[in-house]
Symmetry: C2
Subunit: 138 residues, 2 copies
């Protein structure tokens, strides 16, 4: 019944394994929904799995991002946060007050296509953070 169950076959199919640590971390990400720092993930996960280590959290978050199960996000601090992968979206962050807002990928899809045809690249990541000033701060 844990939301992390659904990921087991995805991992197996690629030759990876489902472990209690990955369960715990996926569980944390699923039930939060928002971006969490590795430390925040660790603090939540260790409640469920007292033996989990920070090292494993860092490695697992990177692993999940590489395999498309989590989105890495550049937070205001310049550090990475992570979020369970669901709908394609991007973020706007206010440089002044930190206020954050999600925008659907559809809004920038045509720009992605323009970039692709101009560069020859195929853009894979649909989770970008744009910085600016929010309506209050500008």
């Amino acid at each position: 019944m844990s939301c992390s169950e659904e990921y087991t076959p995805q991992l197996r199919a690629r030759g990876y394994r489902m472990t209690p640590q990955r369960h715990a971390i996926l569980h944390v990400l699923c039930h939060s929904g928002i971006h969490l720092s590795p430390t925040q993930v660790y603090q939540q996960a260790v409640k469920e799995l007292p033996d989990i280590t920070e090292t494993t959290v860092y490695r697992t978050l990177e692993f999940l991002a590489e395999n498309g199960l989590a989105y890495p996000a550049h937070m205001g601090s310049g550090h990475l946060g992570y979020q369970i992968a669901r709908n394609d979206h991007h973020h706007l962050v206010c440089r002044n007050c930190g206020k954050e807002m999600e925008v659907d990928h559809a809004l920038v899809k045509s720009m992605y296509q323009k970039l692709e045809s101009a560069s020859g690249y195929k853009l894979t990541d649909s989770h970008v953070t744009f910085f600016g000033l929010c309506s209050n701060c500008k």
Copy 2:
């Protein structure tokens, strides 16, 4: 004659000071042109200014970015690099081979405007890293 001279009046005008450390760091950034990690900047700067410390390099790079003299860049690793601020541009990075390419801001300007009118934000940072697969790897 050092490229860093031109920044002195900009700093003074805002109540900041030009120091040998800032000279050295701006010099490194100017003559590199490309994105450098804080460690790389330190290793170059310490050759010119043996007493400079890593702490100062971290603080100075953040300071220069906040004041628009340097662009912070999210490198493939997820860590921050820095580059002297010149022409507005963005980056495409290949997730597979790491190949990097610059694209002019003009190419995404209309999308920035679309995002601004849809969100109410004023987008200030014109130095974004997009990830994908290059023409060879896709």
